[in-house]
Symmetry: D2
Subunit: 348 residues, 4 copies
């Protein structure tokens, strides 16, 4: 199978670097084009980018020239790690010019005709694309993945929809890598907790969740009726967003049924054997003090969401803890899985 050339928008940022690291040995996709802001253009990637991952910067990418973030010679398949301050226009320009933009930016997530995709949960939301083309007149398309905090919640809740998911509350303890680079100043977060994350983080969790969990009906997504309340905080952790979650389930199942629902949950990525797909997308850990970001976030390449501490909640019914790797399952890995799904569904 010949590999598919891909481009990366916002290649020098934290998510852009994670794209490059994850695609270094990808069996299907090959980075052929990188774009970043004016300051970086014309430099080699090595010059333009302060590489900040423990994984080595691949030599092949290091010597590529950084391009302007405009269509033209870019590959048809584009991954976007653009900052939300610039993503609206740039992503639209690429989609208009016929590119498929698989984006981590928040800008189009809540657009009615843009899939907000977690392939295990709502692979069928790709069915929005014909409506997107009609509505926006684009030759190409935009497909998005959720906010890095939402993905943890949505993965833990999706298997519980069968029990009549009604209400969910989440308090997150989010890693600093979620804020990009330079991101959170060390003076603010070292040995501290900041009980607020800017950019409407809580609203994102409360709104993106029902869309992700919703059903495609008549070419449109009908939000799931569950109500979500989020409190998002920042903690001094490198990678891995932890969520303390409580849920109300209309037909309250026994504890074991909830664990079974998580353990047996599979989706299209597992059925199709997508390269970035984890074997079991939600893994229940029986130990009393897990999941923990330092020990569990990187499981299965960072694509598995781990859950634990399931127990009765005197107020809502059940409560538990969930964890996912925010720059992999919650950003670059999510987008790559989306692109893999699209390829296997014949949409590239």
């Amino acid at each position: 199978m010949s590999t598919i050339p891909v481009g990366i928008l916002g290649a020098t940022g934290m998510v852009g670097q994670q794209f490059i690291a994850l695609l270094a040995n990808h069996p299907w996709f090959r980075v052929e084009w990188i774009g970043a802001s004016e300051r970086s253009q014309g430099k080699t990637y090595r010059e333009a980018c302060a590489w900040r991952l423990p994984a080595p910067l691949p030599d092949r990418v290091a010597t590529m020239k950084v391009e302007a973030t405009a269509p033209g010679l870019a590959p048809k398949l584009m991954f976007s790690g653009l900052d939300s301050s610039v993503a609206t226009d740039i992503e639209a320009a690429f989609a208009r010019a016929g590119h498929t933009v698989v984006s981590n930016a928040r800008n189009y997530r809540m657009h009615a005709t843009v899939p907000l995709l977690i392939p295990e949960i709502n692979a069928d939301h790709l069915g929005l694309l014909p409506a997107q083309r009609r509505a926006l007149g684009w030759e190409g398309a935009i497909v998005t993945n959720p906010n890095c905090a939402v993905v943890v919640l949505a993965m833990a809740l999706a298997p519980l929809r069968q029990f009549g998911l009604d209400l969910a509350t989440i308090t997150t303890m989010q890693a600093i890598s979620g804020a990009g680079y330079p991101g959170v100043p060390s003076w603010d977060i070292l040995a501290n907790v900041i009980p607020h994350i800017g950019g409407g983080e809580e609203e994102k969790v409360e709104k993106e969740g029902p869309k992700i969990l919703g059903a495609l009906q008549g070419g449109a997504v009908i939000d799931h009726p569950c109500r979500i309340s989020a409190t998002t905080t920042r903690v001094p952790v490198h990678n891995g967003h932890t969520g303390s979650i409580a849920v109300s389930l209309k037909q309250k199942p026994p504890l074991e049924a909830v664990v079974d629902a998580w353990q047996s949950f599979r989706g299209r990525p597992q059925a199709l054997g997508l390269p970035t797909s984890p074997p079991q997308p939600v893994v229940h850990l029986p130990e009393v003090n897990r999941p923990q970001p330092a020990l569990d976030a990187a499981r299965d390449g960072g694509m598995t969401v781990t859950v634990g501490r399931l127990r009765e909640c005197p107020v809502l019914g059940y409560k538990f803890v969930a964890l996912g790797h925010n720059t992999i399952r919650g950003a670059a890995g999510a987008a790559i899985l989306n692109a893999e799904l699209m390829r296997e569904e014949g949409l590239l």
Copy 2:
């Protein structure tokens, strides 16, 4: 006014050290006796104790001899920072022998005739003491303060009882000093979150809360009818337990009324002008990203609980964040305030 001699049980531990630091310049109480486990007995306090606070170890205490934890020559007023594994028998022995034990240990907190005291909230629970003497046949008495996580919740909820407090959920992010010393190994908590705290922490929060908020009726405490659900986690912070709290209030007041309730909340310590009493026990911080342990836990000597981020909760009604200093407001300072209250109420 002549000072009152006091003794400290469990003097070498984290809470014991905090007692000594806080009493170093106390206007009423003077440490005259220190007791600790067999390993320390007979040594000077300086020899027995690895002093771990930035505040200097007072010279006067440093040279005291550590005594066995048995009554005898100990002062009448005893502060207890004993570990729960030994507190049951030792505290009872002192109370039986006529001492007033003002304890931070959990062992007697839920006993029906033992006051679980936060002087701003339930100073009248000292009215349990006659029943305690009758029930247990002690000449002395035991008075307790709540678990360090409960105190944050209870202080934030007490002013809201007037609105028909019904349900409360809390996810805590607790400081490492709450685990004592050596406490949490650095390998476990550095740049990590541990979503579990041993020793029944969550049960304590769920059970102690209603007792503290309850009413004294006919010489007994009737638990407050609110239901509480707690998830307790450990984060790499030195001091200060943060709680993400949501509440259901039967008569849902406007946001401003909730802020007013906090800001205007005062209790017996403020009325009596107790030395360790903060001028305003609950302080609302208007900044969007407060309270934070590194910035706010030590406010007013660590005796003030700060709250912030009050906003609508789509699930329960209101949500907010509260913070308190766990070894001061949540342990040694709490006990000292209890003793100050007892003195002014003529109970010493």
Copy 3:
């Protein structure tokens, strides 16, 4: 005694905030004027400044209007916490206009006629001021304090000059507050060591040290002949620069003589009883694992340098560890002490 009005240049930065915190209750100086960059001008200080210290922002300063950093109505005595990128011109403008600029910026430190002052060590270097006025034609003057890493080294070495100080090596472990705000990104330093500090930190240590330790002769400072080698690193600590130091002393004294030299070291601030002066500027800690930034940096209001672990060095002669609070003893507190000295020497 009536108080002296002072102004603060660079008032919104980390050092500027520390100036305001330290001057809040100063017996001699009263902040009457604050200046900062264009972005802040015209706002109140509270609006312009993201206050980041645990000490509360004084209300009186919070409501002051931030001025442009130009002379005019500013008080005669100015403290400067300006960034080095702008300090050269602004400080000169103030000095030219007759102000006394007591600066923490590095720009004029190595100028031949500018005192690089640590009052305990070289109070007589104020004797450079007549030459400064002649050389630069200023009505006013600039006086500087050393780099925050140098001050720790210089304070520890000054008492050893009597033994024929010949060589010194230092490896620092510097706190993040030394990088200002936002300073070091948390992604870079959380649970990490960065073995390099930008802006010529090591050169500053190697060059400023001999000037500080040097002698005033004939109206000029003759550098001390010791040779210094510095390696400067950043560690995840809030406040307090630690130095691992080795020295070669020509007449190698016994260990006790070195300890005595530190313990008995006093200077003009102690003789004059300056308000910010620590009672003992260098304190030797006998415990085997001290000094530690978390326990010792804030000693005596952050103005004391602590030393410990003195022992034989197989290569240079002696080695030890020294520690000082970088934003107090190494910045704002240093400048305030300099101004106090100048006032008592009749130079304001």
Copy 4:
């Protein structure tokens, strides 16, 4: 090639766990026997051990029964991660009974007939084994690897012996994993530096270094004549000991020659292609702010020592920074490489 059964002494500790993680997929060695202290004996490894590594506990080992630490049915080749408090007798008992003990414990490192091995540096020190058998009357043998701080220094210095290595000073910033588990309490090290490491860490560095760098002559090791001075400190880092090093080289080579010496340094493991051998044992990083533990310690599976920041030292000649992974290159990986070398040299 059939695999060789191995046993692990001290299997539940930090180093023991690292042995098990590193041997999980080893091409030559297969863990068949695990021994630990009495408390663990008779339990399965999963029951006995609180597994604390992000790498998963291999299922095959998890179900093994923990044995008493006595010879008998144990395999001939034993890895020892024993605590030094018990290693002397246990390791001797195994060696006497004919086992080859490849030990990370310090107890026999400085024994005149025990190789203190870093295979890239002194593979020929295995020539001590005949003398060991004669001297101690053992059927088996003990071979050791250095202290985790020494290995970083020794690897960086070995390539410089050719230039007349004369003096070396090192200040280490050591990771918490070096203290084992539970090791350093979080209260002591969070956002702090502890300028002391117990157990004679500095003496180990100063004494083990010359033995490792020494020459085998007439069946005995002659210490290298360089003099070493060490200051060892603990910093809040998970893995990776950083050293700030200065050296005096008799024939002072140009900077480039030093870099070349590191980059071209190879030893027996590279010649033999040992499985755990890094391709290039010492790697020079040209970036101004490297090596850093968070980015560089895990390079090549944690077996590479990285160096950087080479520059002139005004006092000793040259200075630089070196880094190595303390529980891999400095402990379990080191011992495994030693065993691999012995196998290829026909000594198992």
